[in-house]
Amino acid sequence: MSGNIGVHNVVKDFGAAKVLKDISLDIEEGSFTILLGPSGCGKSTLLRIIAGLETPDAGFVTVDGEDITDYEPKDRHIAMVFQNYALYPHMTAFRNVEYGLKIRKIEKSERRRMVNEVLEQVELADQAHKLPAQMSGGQRQRVALARAIVKRPKAFLMDEPLSNLDAKLRTQMRFELIDMYKKLNTTFLYVTHDQVEAMSMGTYIVIMNQGVIMQQGTPREIYEDPRNLFVAQFIGSPPANIIEHENGYIGIRPENITLSDTPDGEFCLPARVHSAEQLGGETIYHLNTSAGKINVKISGCWEQENSEPYAVFNLDKTFLFDSKGNRIPDNDRVLRAVLRGLDGGERLAAFSFQSAG
C-alpha cells in the first residue's frame, strides 16, 4: 500500500515566528522524498503537520486526494519514526510494536503473528522481550521502524531518525533503510539536515530554508542544476565556491576545478595553496586567488604539491546567479566577461569573494 501526499498552501506560525510560509508540495506515491534544510527551516514542523501532531494555521493536507487536515493522527494511515524513537520505555520491544494493534482491537493470535513477522523483518526476533533501555541505539532504531511497519501505513514519516547514531552505525542504517524502502514499496518522507543522507537515500529532494521551499527535484537535478545560491551552497561537500561580481554571483563546485602547474584549460586563476585537507582518497585544497579563497577537491592524496598552482576549470561547469541569488541561464558571454576580469586583474577591484562556508 502506498500513498500520494499533497501539501496545499500550508501556513504555520509559532507566535511571531513564521515557520511555514505558504508551502505547497506534491509527494509522489512510492517515492523516497527527503525534506532537507538547516535547523529551524520548518521541515520538522511540516512533517508533524502531515502526521497530525500540529495543526496548520492555513492550507490543507491530502493523502491520495482525500483532505486529512482535520483527521486524528491515527486515521491518516501514516506511521512516524521519531528522532529519539519515542519507544515506550516501560514496554518490551514486542509490546511496543504490538501497542497500536492492540488499540485497533486486532485479535491476539493475529497480533502475535504480525508482531513476530515484523520483528523478524528487522532482525530483532531474539530481542523481543527486552526493554528499550536494555537495547543499543541501532536496535532501538529498528524497534521504532518495526512499530511503524506493523501498521502497514500508506506512508512513513521519519524525523531525523539517524541523528542519534554514531557515524558507522548511521552509514549501516542508511543502507538498511534503502533496503527497507525497496522491500516495502511505500512512500517515505524523510526529514534531515544531512545532505549526505539526502543525496544517498532520496529519490526526490525538497530543500527548505526559513519556511519556504528553495528547490525540489531529483538528487541529480539538485546537484547539477541548483536554482539559487542557497541550494548551491547547501549541497556539496565542500559546497560550491561563490564569486561575487557587480551584477550577481558565479558558482563553481570544488570538484569541477583542477590544479595545474601551467596556465592552461578554458579558464585558469593563479593561486597560492593556503592549506590542504588530506582525506585519504581525495584532497581538499584551500587556495588564495586573485578573487579570494577557493576550495578545490581533487582525487588522490599526499602528492607532491606545487605551492603556487593554477586553478583550472571549464565554463560549462559554472552556475550564474543574479544579484538576488536566483539562478539565471548560463551565458557564456557574461561568464567570460566576468572571469576575464578576474583573470586579467584590471577589473579586480569590482570583485569580492564570498566564502561558501
Binding site: L53, P73, K74, A79, N84, Y88, H90, Y99, G100, I103
Partner: protein
C-alpha cells in the same frame, strides 16, 4: 568531643602514604593506624550524636516505659508492670475504635492525596499559557496555611448556627434545621477527613505536576499515532511513567494520615463525640499528656511503630516491584 585530634590526623597520613623510609616505632604505628581507622567515624560522630540523643534514646525509653506505670509527676518513678499496659490497651473499647478510625482515615484519605490530585495535575498539565500556573498556585494554597488557622476557618464555616455551610444547606432546602458537624457521631470523622483532604490535595497536585512535567511528550505523540485516546493514554503511559511518584505519595499518605488528621481532631473534636473521630495517634497523645499515663502512651506508641514499620516495609518492597524509572 575532641576535635583537636583532626589536624594531627591529616598530618600523620601522608607520612605513611609517601612511604618514608624510617621505620615507625610501635606506638607511632598504632596511633597512625588507629587514627586512620577512626577518621570516617569522627566525620559521622556529630550526626550520630544528634540522632542518638533525639531519636534512639527516646525510642529505647519509650520501649522501657511501655512496661512501667508512671505519671511523670515530680518525685515519682516508673514502676515496672510487665505487659499490663499492652493487655489494658487491647481490652480498651476506645483503643479498638481508634484503630478502626485510623484505618478509615488511611483509606479515605487516599482519594484526596492520590486520585484527585492525579486528575487535577493531568488536566492542568495539558493547559497552555499562564492559567496553568494560576490554577496550580490556587491548588497549593491550602498547603501553606497553618493547620490551626485552617481548623478555625472550618469551625466558622461548619458552625451549626451561623456557619455558611449550614445557611446554604438550609436556603437550598437540602436540610431543615442544622447539622453540628463536629459533635454528631455520623459527621465528625467525615468533617475531619474532608478538612485534612482539602489541605492535602494541593500538595499532591504540585508533586504530581512536577512529575508530569518531566515526562517525554514524544511518548504521547507516538501513542496518538498508535490511536490511543486520552483516558487510555493516562492509564497506559501517565500512570506507569510517574509510578515512582504515585507510589511515593501512596506511601506518604498511608504513613502520615494519622499525623495529618491529628491537629484537626485535637482542635475541632477532641476525638469525640464518644471517641468516634479519634485515631491511634490522638489516643497515644491523650494517654500521655491528658491522662498522664506514660506507660499506656508508650505501649500505644510501640504498637503504632510496629504496625507502621511493617506497612512501610511492605510498601517499599511493593514499590520496588511496581515503580518504573524512565532514564
Amino acid at each position: 568531643m575532641d576535635y583537636s585530634a583532626a589536624p594531627g590526623l591529616t598530618g600523620a597520613i601522608p607520612a605513611v602514604k609517601t612511604g618514608v623510609k624510617r621505620k615507625l616505632n610501635v606506638t607511632e604505628l598504632f596511633t597512625v593506624k588507629s587514627l586512620r581507622v577512626l577518621k570516617p567515624y569522627m566525620f559521622l560522630l556529630p550526626a550520630l550524636l544528634i540522632l542518638g540523643f533525639w531519636l534512639y534514646k527516646p525510642l529505647i525509653n519509650t520501649f522501657y516505659y511501655s512496661f512501667t506505670k508512671w505519671t511523670m509527676l515530680p518525685g515519682t518513678k516508673p514502676e515496672p508492670v510487665g505487659f499490663a499496659n499492652y493487655l489494658k490497651l487491647f481490652g480498651s473499647k476506645d483503643f479498638g475504635t481508634a484503630v478502626k478510625n485510623t484505618g478509615f482515615y488511611i483509606v479515605m484519605l487516599l482519594p484526596f492525596s492520590v486520585v484527585i490530585p492525579l486528575i487535577l495535575a493531568n488536566v492542568t498539565n495539558s493547559m497552555k499559557g499562564r492559567m496553568k500556573n494560576v490554577y496550580r498556585a490556587l491548588f497549593f494554597f491550602p498547603m501553606i496555611m497553618a493547620g490551626v488557622s485552617t481548623a478555625t476557618i472550618f469551625r466558622w464555616l461548619l458552625n451549626p448556627g451561623t456557619g455558611l455551610v449550614n445557611i446554604l444547606l438550609n436556603k437550598t432546602g437540602i436540610i431543615d434545621g442544622s447539622i453540628s458537624f463536629f459533635t454528631q457521631e455520623e459527621t465528625a470523622k467525615w468533617a475531619i477527613l474532608l478538612i485534612t483532604g482539602w489541605k492535602m490535595i494541593g500538595f499532591s497536585t504540585v508533586i504530581f505536576s512536577a512529575a508530569l512535567t518531566g515526562t517525554d511528550k514524544s511518548y504521547y505523540e507516538a501513542a496518538s499515532l498508535d490511536g490511543s485516546r486520552k483516558v487510555r493514554k493516562f492509564f497506559d503511559f501517565t500512570v506507569p511513567l510517574i509510578s515512582p511518584t504515585i507510589l511515593f505519595m501512596v506511601m506518604m499518605s498511608i504513613l502520615f494520615a494519622s499525623q495529618w488528621t491529628f491537629a484537626y481532631i485535637d482542635i475541632l473534636t477532641n476525638g469525640g463525640p464518644y471517641g468516634t473521630s479519634t485515631n491511634i495517634y490522638y489516643e497515644m497523645y491523650k494517654y500521655g499528656f491528658s491522662s498522664m499515663n506514660v506507660g499506656m502512651s508508650s505501649a500505644a506508641a510501640n504498637l503504632f511503630l510496629a504496625v507502621f514499620g511493617v506497612i512501610a516495609a511492605v510498601l517499599t518492597t511493593v514499590s520496588k516491584k511496581l515503580a518504573f524509572y524512565d532514564n
